[in-house]
Structures are given as C-alpha cells and as structure tokens.
Amino acid sequence: MTTPVLEVKDLRVHFFLDEGLVRAVDGVSFEVQPGQVVGIVGESGCGKSVTMKAILQIVEPPGRIVGGQILFHKNSGAPVDLTQLSPKSAELRAIRGAEIALIPQEPMAAFSPVHSVGAQVIEALKLHERQWRPSGPPLSRTEARSMTVDLFRSVGISMPEERVDAYSWQLSGGLRQRAMIAMALSCRPRLLIADEPTTAIDVTTQAQILNLLRDLQRRHGTAIVFITHDLGVIAQMARYVVVMYLGRVVEQGAVEQIFHEPKHPYTRALLKSIPSVTVAPRTLLPTIAGSIPHPLGRPRGCPFHPRCPDAIPGLCAERVPALRPVGPTQLASCFLYNRDEAVEP
C-alpha cells in the first residue's frame, strides 16, 4: 500500500451553541490515496461540509475541532497533522491553496466581484510561487498572465486571452466554475477538495464540468475529495465512497460495493429512494420513514436507529456501533454485522 495523501482519523468537530452542543462531526475516519477520487455523500446535516472545513482549518466559531487527527502527507518529509497547526500560521497558509485547493459550491460568492478573474488566479500563482516552483527567477507579470491564459484554455474556456480580464459577474455559471477550477489547479495541488461543485449549475453544464474534472484528474493524477449530496454524481465521479449520516460514517468502500452491495440499512434505503430516469413513470418510491433529526436532538445509540427498518431492540437505541470491515474493501458501522463492537460514548 502506498502512503495516502490524507488520513483523517477519528475527527470530531463540535459546535458549542447557546442551545447546546452539536456534534457536527463525531468520529470520522477515512483515507485518500494519491490520485484517488474519494466521494463523501450524505444528506443535509450529515457533517460532510464541516469535514471539508476541518481539513482546511476554516471551521468558524462556535465550532471547534475537539479531537482526532488530519494527517497530510506532502511530497517529501514527515506527515503534518493539520489539526495541530494554527489556522493563521504561515505553515498552514502555505498548504492551503497551494497543496490543498478548494472548488467551492458557489463560484459567484467565491470570486471577488471587483477584481478580474484573471487577476485572482495570478494572485494565487504569485502568492504560492515558492510552493509550486521551488527554484527559478521570480515570476513576472507577463509570465503569470500567460500561465493563467494557458490554465483557462486547459479548463475549456473559449477566448481565454479576453476572459482573463473579465469579472466574475460577466461570466455564466459554467464559465465561472471553470475559472474556479483553473484557480484551484493553478498551484498544482496534491489534493483537491470539491465541495458540491455542480450543485448550483444546470444539468447539461454539470455534465460538462464533471467531464472536465474527470479528464483533469486523469491527466494530472490529483487526488480529489468530492463532496456532494447527489448519489448520481458520486457514482460517476468517485472510486471510493464515504457515506455519512448525522456526523458519523455509516459505511465506506469501493464505489461498486457501495452501489451494488450496500451493507448499512441507511445506504440501502437511500439508494432505493432516489428517483431515477430509468424506471417506469408514475411509480411509488420506497421511502425512509421519518426525517433527519434536528442536530440538537440527536438520538442516543446508533443515529439511524429511529428510522431503521432492521433496528435491533435494546441494542441499537443504547449503543453506538463501531465502523468495522464487512467485506474486502468495505466498512460499515452497524450491529447487524458486528454485534459486539460498540464505540464508547
């Protein structure tokens, strides 16, 4: 086994609200191998975005990382535990944007409206110059500009020489997201975090952006953590899938296993309840009973037990199941497979 790019171990992020404690992320572990696309999927409140923010150390107060490790393996040298770095430290700022880049959900909100998109990519290139180009003469403006034009061309922006001078509000949603991808890739990151990158985009443009990401990933071998609520997008993009529910990993494994042999009752029910274009029209969908509990009213025991059709009386409501292997490359946290192993509260 090669060394992973990222190892998240028992990560806990809690929010200390006046109303009480919200365990937004409560014991999440997964790994990202070099060049691998790992999908994190879950419904609202499952903690997928907070996990992303914890990796980049941008969790806003009253949220705080209260436990666990996030080990980032650079090209050389010892792994860095990102949770130990101060969010404002030079060391972390050198990693953020250069070695771990983010493609946010809303490119409109991510770009500054008063600077051209090109200027913002050039800024990133110059800011992180020593990370992506350890030696050589300082980057000149003309060189940075021509690099940005090349980047824009590589992400499929037509007329890149003109578009570098455009402002984000002059671009369409698809072009804006392409410019964002160009910026994220500008410093050749080892790890790319894509947080719902196509949620705000129409379906035909989404297909283009997903194709582009797949193509760039193949060409550069960048590892990607792909966060989405859309199981269709996950199936098309990820090799390895982490399914989350209420701050915990319920199941993780290779994409084929998750979609064809789901083990956890939540994964199974979720897959059945997605409307599909391939079924007969006007058919009732299998549903999951109830709704996602309020984060402050999280159930005791396994977080899914009140909605679970297979809940074991006296066990699932009392104890929290541990994430244990259920197949060669598949883990699930469910007492149906491992009756004895629980997580200590």
Binding site: Q208, I274, P281, R282, L285
Partner: protein, 338 residues
C-alpha cells in the same frame, strides 16, 4: 381523448420583460421569457414542465396562476361551474372568485409559511379568506387536511419552526388543498428537500392525486423527479416549448436533440453506467439575444444550414407527440430505458 376533457388550455402564451438601461431606466429591449407556448392539461392528469434555469418554466406557471399578467395569449380554464374562462385578461377582482380553484405549492418550505402564524392559521387562512368564518369548522377542516397529508392534527397549534423541511412541505400541500382546487401548480416542490424526504413528498403527491382526482402542473428541473410524477412531459428551452409527449414516450423515444441530451446528462447512480460522454457543448442561449433560426442550433450536434436560418415550428409528429425540430423525422435519438 375527447375534446372536452381538458381543464386548462394555454394558447400562444407570451411574456416578455423589458430591459432597462441608464439613469432614466429607458427600455432598450425585451427578454421573451415565455415565447409562444401552447399546451393543454387534461382533468386528473399531471403535466411535468421541465427545463434548465432561465427556460421560462416558472414564468409560465406564474402566468397561469396570474401572479403576473401575460403579454399576450390565452389561458383557458374550465371553472367548477363548467364555464370556460380566459384567465389572461381578467382583473384582480374578476380573478378573485376563481382563485380558490387554482392553488400553488411553493419551492421553499421555509420561506413559504408565515413563521408568526401557527400551522392552523397558515393552512386555515385560505379558508378564512374564502368565507369560512366559523372557527370550529375551520379547525375540523384543517385537522382533516393535516391528516390527509400525513401530519398529526394535534400539532396544528405549533409554529412552522417546529417542523422539518419535509413536514413543512406537507403543510404547504395541505394549504394548497384547503380550498379544494381543481388545478394545483407545484413549482419545484421537492428540489429543496433531502433525497430521503423527497421520495416521501413525491409519493404523497401521487397518492393525493389518485385519491382526490387532482390536476397537477409540476414544474421542475430534475428529469428523474418529473418522470416519477408525470403523465405527460413538456420540455422548454429558452422560452419555447421544444417537445411534449407522454412520459413513457418522451423518455423512451425523445424526438428533440435537446430532450435527448438533457436525459443523458442526468448522472445515473450506478458506477457501471456510461458517464456523460455525450455532454452538450456550449451553454444555454441568452433569452435577451437568442440565436437566429432554431434556438438550440449552436449546441445541437445535428444542426444543418436550415437550422441556422429558419425557426422550426412546433408540430405533431405522432399522435400526441409534439416537437419543434426541423429534423425530427429523420433523427434516431436514444432515450433512457424503463
């Protein structure tokens, strides 16, 4: 189908918005948000209206509800007493007696309920407005409506914040049904919901429709959702209707290249499924400055010279299958199975 079976008959509906520029807000052009759209909805059926953002689907729905006035065209509605009324030119006062017959379910379950009113007041308001002054009778009716939509009637004195997104959407549906409407317009009613809750609300709409013999105009951008609920599906692109057929037919044998592309762009939740290799190039045309000829030609893989110059007309290519494409007869397009 018999000629009398329609409930709503939309004919040549147009809605354009002025583009204003400069300090004196001078009108410099117009966006044709809805551009000559015609369709009928039969009694008891669900028509799904799909398209990407900016295609005019919501504007069409709002014109039918007369939340806005159409620029031209007719919206013929068969009222409860059997009269056929054209909603398009009516004034507010004239619309008033017809309003209870056409109701709406909104997209955002958080924004569409008044947070300072209890569920009883939210759902009961359409009843009060329409003359049911007796509180006792309103309480009974609201209790029935909540039960109908799968909510507990004893919760009716709570406020909206105490409910989850899915429950609020049920409340919104209960409110829409309060006046026993003949037509319900649902604009993206499940797009703000999580997958596991979305399925519940879709099932509820399907069940209610069969039980109450509702007629539904279901507006959505998500083709898979539309397929689950619709009898017939209409596809819009840049303000125009490009294809209309039964759900079965349009998914199996789409005749317009845009419909086919839209279907294949939906990511299928199966890692073995072929993934979007046929993605369309380019982006949706600007409705303020649409391309000449067929609006879809710059993105269409099958475009010919005629498509660049002549605007295709919508025509019936088969019984009940309308399509707006010059080459609809010769093209063989693949749909999605089912």
């Amino acid at each position: 189908m018999s000629a009398t079976s329609w409930l709503l008959d939309v004919r040549h509906l147009r809605k354009s918005f002025p583009i204003r520029r400069g300090w004196n807000r001078k009108v410099v052009g117009a966006v044709a948000a809805v551009d000559d759209v015609s369709f009928t909805i039969r009694e008891g059926e669900t028509l799904g209206l799909v398209g990407e953002s900016g295609c005019g689907k919501t504007t069409t729905a709002r014109c039918i509800l007369r939340a806005m006035s159409p620029t031209s065209g007719e919206i013929l509605f068969r009222a409860a007493d059997g009269r056929v009324v054209d909603l398009a030119p009516l004034s507010r006062a004239e619309l008033r007696p017809l309003r209870p017959q056409i109701q709406m379910v909104f997209q955002d379950p958080f924004g569409s309920l008044n947070p300072r009113m209890t569920i009883f007041d939210n759902v009961g308001e359409p009843l009060l407005v329409n003359g049911l002054r007796d509180r006792r009778a309103r309480l009974d009716r609201v209790a029935d409506l909540l039960e109908l939509t799968g909510l507990r009637p004893e919760h009716m004195h709570r406020f909206p914040h105490a409910f989850s997104g899915g429950q609020r959407q049920r409340i919104g549906i209960a409110r829409a049904l309060a006046t026993e409407p003949r037509l319900v317009v649902a604009d993206e009613p499940v797009s703000a919901l999580d997958v596991s809750v979305q399925a519940q609300v879709l099932n509820l709409l399907l069940e209610l429709q069969t039980r109450l013999h509702l007629t539904l105009l279901f507006v959505a951008h998500d083709l898979s959702v539309v397929k689950h609920i619709s009898d017939r599906v209409a596809v819009m692109y840049v303000g125009q209707l490009v294809e209309l057929a039964t759900a079965e037919e349009i998914f199996r044998h789409p005749r317009h290249p845009y419909t086919a592309a839209l279907m294949r762009a939906v990511p299928v939740p199966d890692p073995h499924a072929p993934s979007g290799d046929v993605a369309l190039s380019g982006e949706v045309a600007n409705p303020a400055n649409p391309p000449p000829g067929c609006y879809f030609h710059p993105r269409c893989p099958f475009a010919l010279d005629v498509c660049r110059t002549e605007t295709p007309l919508i025509r019936e290519i088969q019984a009940g299958h309308l399509v707006r494409c010059h080459r609809a007869d010769e093209l063989v397009l693949t749909g999605v199975g089912g």
